[in-house]
């Protein structure tokens, strides 16, 4: 019996050991919520693709194949990490977890070792669940774009999803809030640099070179980030804001005077919600701005987990009618009344586009439109409606609260100019973010830097010339091919006019890969990585 108990004792000992034998591998969440701190360290790798597999996966879809044709064959594999980090919302008290991507090139020479970082800001996305790191999601086209364009060519890519998206519990998105969004970019950059040595691709490291870029909303964010990094004394190797609404006051004025851009009914709620959270004075009730048809719930409508097309079909948002087609009459102000009329100049090729912005039901009430326009007429922007030398902002801060918010976030603000080489890329027929009002206004605002070659302006739609001629040729050819496609049986056999309308609708999106290629080519002048 004595031996019997000894054996049982051994079993008991084994049990005690077993109780202590839990797995030692953990992913502790940091206790600090300081901006730029990783919330999960090390970050989770969503996927690891070698160059051949990534190329094959892109080639498997039509859009992927088109991207591959522009971006070129991947020379590096890419590891896609899901960064979770801490940042703040529009107010310093709004601590929130945010997320984004760390894309790490992998492979042999030119793909591992010390590599430059591309800090990228994505364009407006109505999908609240957006995760730009999730390369396994076919709808994540912008994630695929930056992976193919930059990471697969040897750049480490860091890109936020933005506060208000994905896991963020902020409850709104600080849309076009220059201070918040540039701060979040700097936070994810810090988090990405912390995470990089701890990834499964630790053979790839930061070489200290930093390139800042972004598209559309992200173009504004990229430029604001360049300004913030410069102010913080950080080194930026080069920057390439693309198709961004940089001159926000001018852009807003153009829009309220009737030059309504495509996508404005999506941008308006994002913008007013963002600025209401930041400044608290945009409206007392949403009905101050929005028609009763849409006012209820609009402050929390976007971003949404419901597809935006569903929001349109459910009548929660008009597709294009930003303003009332019955335009306001402002007593005693004939010029202002005329300026608020539905555009009807047959000589302006954009007139049909602008007319789409008027209808019934409409999003923004006439009284609000008049209040904005009156302020713009009394204290005009330097670029809109009439450009002046140096295109300054309004002479004094606007009194209309939305216009003042645009003024505050206008990137002509802050008495600054880029000190790093900067490429401003876009397409001059862009119906969503007007090239002339934004990119050309900024170029006019910084004439000395443009003349010195520090700032390069590229219109991918212009007649091919100079170092980006191949890219311009490619873009123009792609537009022609798209037009032909929509007229073909596969594309629906549309009439020329209908096909042209489709091309116009997709113009802003189609510029993105070509400007991104131009940005990569531009960065290659300084990074010494493959272009």
């Amino acid at each position: 019996m004595k031996n019997y108990w000894r054996v049982l004792g051994a079993v008991g000992a084994a049990l005690v050991l077993a109780a202590c034998g839990d797995s030692s591998q953990t992913a502790p969440a940091g206790s600090s919520t300081a901006p730029g701190t990783l919330a999960i360290d090390p970050p989770f790798r969503i996927a690891s693709l070698d160059a051949a597999t990534f190329a094959a996966e892109l080639a498997a879809s039509t859009t992927g194949a088109e991207l591959l044709a522009v971006a070129g064959t991947p020379t590096c594999g890419v590891d896609f990490y899901y960064l979770k980090f801490w940042t703040v919302g529009a107010l310093a008290t709004e601590t929130t977890e945010s997320s984004g991507a760390l894309m790490v090139p992998t492979g042999g020479s030119g793909c591992s070792g010390p590599r430059p970082i591309v800090l990228y800001a994505h364009g407006t996305n109505a999908n609240q669940a957006l995760n730009i790191a999730d390369i396994t999601n076919p709808s994540n086209t912008e994630g695929a774009l930056i992976a193919a364009m930059f990471a697969a060519q040897g750049y480490i890519v860091v890109a936020p999803n933005y506060a208000g998206y994905d896991i963020s519990t902020l409850g709104y998105h600080p849309f076009l809030n220059a201070a918040q969004q540039s701060g979040e970019m700097m936070d994810i950059l810090k988090a990405g640099r912390t995470a990089l040595p701890q990834t499964l691709a630790a053979a790839t490291s930061d070489n200290g070179q930093l390139f800042v870029t972004g598209y559309s909303e992200g173009g504004h964010v990229a430029m604001a980030t360049l300004r913030a990094l410069q102010a913080a004394g950080a080194t930026v190797t080069a920057a390439a804001p693309m198709s961004g609404p940089y001159a926000l006051e001018a852009f807003g004025d153009a829009l309220f005077f009737g030059s309504v851009d495509l996508g404005s009914t999506e941008f308006a709620p994002l913008l007013t919600t963002s600025y209401q959270h930041a400044y608290g004075n945009i409206y007392t009730a949403t009905t101050d701005i929005y028609s009763p048809t849409y006012a209820t719930g609009i402050a929390t409508l976007l971003p949404s987990k419901t597809p935006i097309d569903t929001l349109f079909t459910e009548g929660l948002l008009p597709e294009t009618a930003l303003f009332d087609s019955t335009t306001p009459v402002v007593p005693g102000q004939a010029a202002l009344t005329a300026a608020l009329a539905v555009p009807d100049n047959p000589a302006n090729p954009d007139t049909p586009l602008f007319q789409l912005g008027f209808g019934n039901p409409y999003l923004i009430v006439n009284d609000y439109r008049v209040s904005y326009a009156a302020d713009a007429a009394a204290d005009p922007d330097g670029a809109v409606p009439t450009a002046t030398a140096g295109v300054p902002l309004a002479a004094t801060a606007p009194t209309q609260t939305l216009r003042n918010a645009l003024y505050v976030n206008d990137l002509r603000n802050g008495h600054w100019a880029p000190t790093a080489p900067t490429l401003l890329c876009g397409g001059d027929q862009d119906p969503t973010v007007f090239f002339s009002v934004n990119t050309e206004t900024m170029a006019a605002f910084w004439p000395a830097q443009v003349a010195a070659g520090l700032i390069t302006v590229l219109d991918v739609n212009a007649a091919p010339s100079g170092p980006f001629a191949k890219i311009q040729t490619g873009f123009i050819a792609s537009q022609a091919a798209l037009l032909a496609y929509y007229q073909s049986a596969d594309g629906g056999g549309l009439s020329l006019a209908a096909a042209q309308a489709e091309v116009t609708e997709n113009y802003h999106t189609n510029v993105a890969p070509f400007c991104s290629l131009a940005a990569r080519s531009f960065f290659g002048n300084f990074a010494g990585v493959q272009q």
Binding site: M1, N3, Y4, V7, L8, V11, G12, A14, L15, L17, A18, A19, G21, D22, S23, S24, Q25, T26, A27, A29, I40, P42, P43, F44, R45, I46, A47, S48, L49, D50, T53, G77, Y82, K84, D134, T136, L200
Partner: protein, 230 residues
């Protein structure tokens, strides 16, 4: 890790508390030592959770380990056996796509764990006690707990980073058939074939991303052992 030690303590107490036969020519207790071949017969649903490609599955690799058995004679026809094994390090093989992304998966050893898996049998022995050869059958209950759970480097690569595995303990039925041979006096040799049912929920936590599935094992064990009765 939570292990219900009450089960083992209860089993040991039961063994010692059972009445022994009064016959002086037989022995009340036996201690058996031998080799145990374990065939897992894994069946699992595909791993579910964020960022998991379709078809990612597992299979536990068969193995051999040390067998320890403690047997208490209840009567001439009935024994109670507590069957133990030295907790083996079970290796789990990836099954499914050849690669997850570009990381090799199918056939790779993705994780390992040790099992503490005691089984308590009540066994009926055929033929008289004086027989040299006595076949027996038994039914019982198996308790399985997992510890030393580790995702391998290959598992971490496939799942996306350092991964913490948790597996729930299992309580299930067991059955056995065997044959005992009385070599001489205190010494016997035995062979047996047993089957039990083990169900566990496995959760893989990779840097805060949780994926899970339910694995059913029908572990079958073949034991060859020597026994000493006292």
């Amino acid at each position: 890790m939570k292990i219900d030690t009450r089960l083992l303590i209860g089993a040991a107490t039961l063994l010692c508390a059972l009445p022994a036969a009064a016959d002086d020519q037989v022995y009340d207790n036996s201690f058996r030592l031998g080799s145990l071949a374990l065939f897992y017969h894994t069946s699992a649903a595909d791993l579910e959770g964020p960022y998991v490609p379709a078809g990612v599955n597992f299979k536990a690799k068969d193995l051999e380990t040390l067998y320890v058995g403690l047997v208490r004679r209840v009567s001439s026809a009935f024994d109670v056996e507590l069957a133990l094994g030295y907790p083996p390090l079970s290796k789990v093989e990836g099954r499914g796509p050849a690669t997850v992304g570009s990381v090799p998966y199918n056939g790779e050893i993705v994780s390992s764990a040790r099992w503490l898996s005691p089984t308590l049998f009540v066994e009926y022995k055929f033929l008289p006690e004086s027989s040299k050869l006595r076949p027996y059958i038994g039914v019982g209950v198996n308790y399985t707990a997992f510890y030393d759970r580790d995702s391998t480097a290959q598992g971490n690569a496939g799942l996306g980073g350092p991964t913490r595995l948790s597996l729930t303990s299992s309580l299930g039925p067991a059955g056995t058939v065997g044959l005992g041979y009385n070599v001489s006096g205190h010494w016997h040799v035995y062979t047996s074939y047993s089957i039990s049912r083990v169900d566990t929920n496995i959760t893989a936590d990779t840097d805060g991303i949780e994926r899970s599935t339910r694995i059913k094992f029908g572990p079958q064990t073949w034991v060859v052992s020597g026994g000493y009765s006292f």
